[in-house]
Symmetry: C2
Subunit: 562 residues, 2 copies
């Protein structure tokens, strides 16, 4: 490694995930401010449902700042394959165009995403072995094996001439992860010996005392729970937790049931896992139609939809809308999952629907260890600080309250410095004490109807208003020497109602008169100007609408010149 | 009491609250099926936010069935003053027109609601003393004092010639409720001696083991917690919990702070409480401006907004938008409240905003007994069944999962019959075993822009679509012998966007061409028919829009004839 030059700085810049859970996008910069080289670590999404943006499919971090720095970006390095870490790659890569590095399982899922967006041939994707190394300009990176709720979770030891940054990615300490190796403790101790300048660390479970528990405990418990079920059993879990999927498959075998995967992402992930050599000993699955022919006590469904997603398998089964899978009295649904905040109402609706059918439910609320989290609880965080002993704690991957609590924990643990970043804060990690030296734009982008737009786009503001307040459309034709109304006004009212149809008809007449009155007040020269006409009629109609409907609809006026 | 005649039946009909928490509306009918007399017990609302219906203010049970039975309705009896029990009265009374009965505090709040809707002079409202009695046709009703999270919670012992129904309303067993008397245990035991045919009972906390705890414990704990705060303190709680409000006021005095009420409903409820003789010994409050002049350690704010409601006091303070109240580093917000499911995200946002300012938060998660629930946990339910010993258990006031669990609990407790109703189920309680004998319409009404409409109203479906998919408006003028386009088409696109403005312009041109093409395909006679023209252009434009924007917008076409 070359030596630091005078003027060199090492900076950390989060553009997603620092202030929210999900949508992780982090960048590290090295060099003098005007010629900094960058690496990007992870590039993920959140979903519109979670953002509560109706109609929006995907939420992405806005990479505007990095786009301007494109020529200086050396690489995009991915820690693991969760959507909130890789989901934005195929969307944002055309703006960033840097080579991509990932371990085999992550690369397999990334490749599929790139293929879907027609980018497979364009994106240089290098597969790094587990525990591999990379040299990227001033950055030397070691992939460090950790444990999490997906295969191949890697932390990154990022060496620079100004010190080593330990970027944990998502992790927990699972003494028996079932798939993959345990936490590479030796490596962490060695890093500490070398000296860790900063640890950029997962904050998701900072409010949870103790430890999260192991996938091995889940395997034992889930098998017991399934063993005592009598009718059909449906287990729901995140498909990306391949160890959990394997648990369900093996539990099925242990109790004499044949497993059947239900839901697109189950099939997708299982295929990806098999492609990298996982799930080799798992029992064969059968298809939905075949499973439907088995006696209830001989089938185990493994379903998507643990969060009550309306289109996922489990919700469709609950609504009796699934083509091949039906659950009834005597059957059981096992939620090997947690309730992600914001999804409570949807999940409770699912519970109500199943219970109404007489389907029994088993959730982690009553049965401990049918689910464990993939993120470190406080004792695990303490252990990680004990191992890494960083000079600076930089909590990421959390809402503001998580990051601030993580700072407090780091202070308790005598970490010399701790700084909770906001998305867009450029933090100088060295030289000198950690400090925010700049704030760069850090907005959001939305994928809406397959089109990527800014979260501040007027269209989205209009949609919010349309959804809450409705719309009124007015059109009329103007003609003749005096520019009078020669046809119309036509009025169309959408999303507004009255208790009584007759009243509604009268209201439409009132709106018509309001439009005419607003027009008639315009002088001769204003009538020649479409903008003037539209503005006056919008004002008049909106005012009348507010009175009539108690709402503030979007009013659109169209003037046709004859 | 007269004797039962052959053919008499006693029925229970819930139209709200059986399948959801909130929006309670229950009816009891007595007599032969064709001349049944009815009493209504409670008539409440839910809020549009909870229903996730954008723009909708209030959600009401649809009283259609009872409206048809209007001439046979003897009375509307209110158990207590929570919005989910009285909030629909002023909206639905004009459809039902029955006299109303309530105890003093409830009557005070009802009067205010009636005044707002201009109904005060029209609605016959009789104030019943606590522990009062009422004879209403075949029904003899005793108001039975219980404990809950509001003053004057009453259960109703409803005697009929076919037996006594014990309608609990909302309750808990609070050994020291601070305001009002404790549970009238003697009365409950006496009822059991007499024989309870059916108990219609609160199910809210059926999944909570143990007991809920007492308001007295909250007073002690909250006072201790406030005592150790240094800067400004803001306590947030439901205003209707007058005992809790009194606790905050007295705690303020105990620690040398002057209390200040913030938020409209705090003022409203405190005034109502004082009007019925409550809060007489509570310290005087000062107004917001005066409080702003006090040293931080001398003020205690009591705020609305514990559920993260965007317009309530606490959210406005968090966003720095409150005119008179500011909280900063060193100040503390105490949540003397629980998180109602569905509000998690809004409340967490509030936490993030305060923590970002350095304001400390204290919630019931960390500090037990700064809040207790007003609904019975399982031990309290067991106690109530032990007291009342009903023949039939009828769980209400809960989602489906609560009611079904409550049935299981009743079965465990050896209650001979248990039946979980759905809204609209007419249940015959006597003679014979409890049984659903009819299903009547049980929809919802929405108050939207101050107008009451049906939940199935097309306007609301349109709004959902507008909010998710946007709108396209097309207008053009047709004229001449051949009915050709003489002006337009004008295209307006709302709520749809593209990454690039130029592309967007091109898309508008494409839509224009699609409209023209659709029109040009019509034959001469179809062009004379506005409906034909509109339908064809809507189809053409919608198809083009789906291709261009990946969305299915509402398309409105306006044809002007010249």
């Amino acid at each position: 490694m070359s030596k630091a030059q005078p003027g060199d700085e090492l900076v950390f810049l989060p553009l997603g995930g620092s202030g929210e859970i999900g949508m992780n996008l982090n960048a590290y910069g090295y060099g003098p401010p005007d010629t900094r080289k960058w690496i990007i670590v992870d590039i993920g999404v959140t979903f519109g449902r979670e953002e509560m943006a109706p109609g929006v499919e995907i939420v992405l971090p806005d990479p505007q700042y990095l786009e301007e720095e494109r020529d200086n970006i050396i690489a995009i390095v991915l820690t693991h394959a969760h959507e909130d870490h890789i989901g934005a790659l195929a969307w944002l890569w055309p703006r960033l165009k840097a080579p991509v590095y990932a371990t085999p399982f992550t690369a397999a899922l990334v490749r599929e995403k790139l293929r879907e967006r027609g980018l497979l041939e364009k994106v240089p994707l290098t597969v790094i072995p587990l525990k591999g190394q990379l040299t990227l300009g001033p950055f030397e990176i070691d992939f460090v094996t950790l444990t999490h709720s997906i295969p191949e979770p890697n932390g990154l030891a990022i060496r620079t001439p100004l010190g080593l940054v330990w970027h944990t990615g998502d992790w927990k300490i699972d003494p028996d992860p079932l798939i993959g190796e345990t936490t590479d403790e030796a490596k962490l101790r060695a890093m500490a010996e070398e000296g860790v300048l900063a640890m950029v660390c997962d904050s998701t479970n900072v409010f949870v005392e103790g430890s999260t528990g192991s996938e091995a405990e889940v395997r034992e418990r889930l098998t017991q729970v399934i063993a005592r079920c009598t009718g059909r059993v449906a287990v729901t879990a995140f498909a990306s937790n391949v160890a959990r999927v394997e648990t369900a498959l093996q539990a099925a075998r242990a109790v004499g049931r044949t497993p059947c995967l239900v839901g697109r992402s189950m099939h997708r992930i299982v295929a990806a896992a098999k492609g990298v050599g996982l799930l080799q000993d798992a029992p064969e699955t059968i298809d939905e139609e075949e499973a439907g022919g088995l006696a209830p006590e001989h089938v185990l469904y493994l379903c998507t939809g643990s969060q009550g997603e309306a289109r996922a398998a489990l919700s469709r089964i609950a609504r009796n809308e699934h083509r091949n899978v039906t659950l009834k009295e005597g059957d059981t649904v096992i939620f090997s999952s947690r309730v992600i905040p914001g999804n409570e109402v949807a999940i409770h609706q699912l519970y109500n629907q199943f219970l109404e059918k007489g389907v029994a439910l088993i959730t982690a609320d009553e049965e401990h260890f049918i689910h464990v989290s993939g993120h470190p609880a406080r004792d695990e965080l303490r252990q990680m600080y004990a191992w890494a002993r960083p000079k600076i704690a930089v909590p990421v991957h959390g809402e503001r309250r998580h990051l601030l609590e993580h700072v407090r924990l780091a202070q308790e643990l005598q970490i010399p410095e701790a700084i909770a970043p906001n998305n867009g804060d450029m933090i100088r990690l060295a030289p000198g004490p950690a400090k925010v030296i700049d704030e760069v734009p850090a907005g959001r982008l939305y994928v809406d109807g397959g089109v990527m737009i800014e979260a501040e786009d007027e269209a989205l503001r209009d949609r919010k208003r349309l959804g809450e307040e409705g719309a009124i459309n007015v059109s009329f034709a103007i003609g003749g020497k005096k520019n009078g109304i020669v046809a119309g006004p036509n009025i169309s009212v959408r999303g507004l109602s009255m208790a009584d149809d007759e009243e509604f008809e009268i209201a439409i007449d009132d709106l018509e008169r309001a439009a005419e009155a607003a027009f008639s007040k315009l002088n001769h020269s204003d009538r020649k100007d479409d903008d003037q006409v539209e503005a006056a009629v919008v004002r008049g109609v909106r005012k009348a609408a507010e009175k009539l409907f108690g709402k503030r609809p979007l009013v659109d006026v169209s003037v046709l010149r004859i």
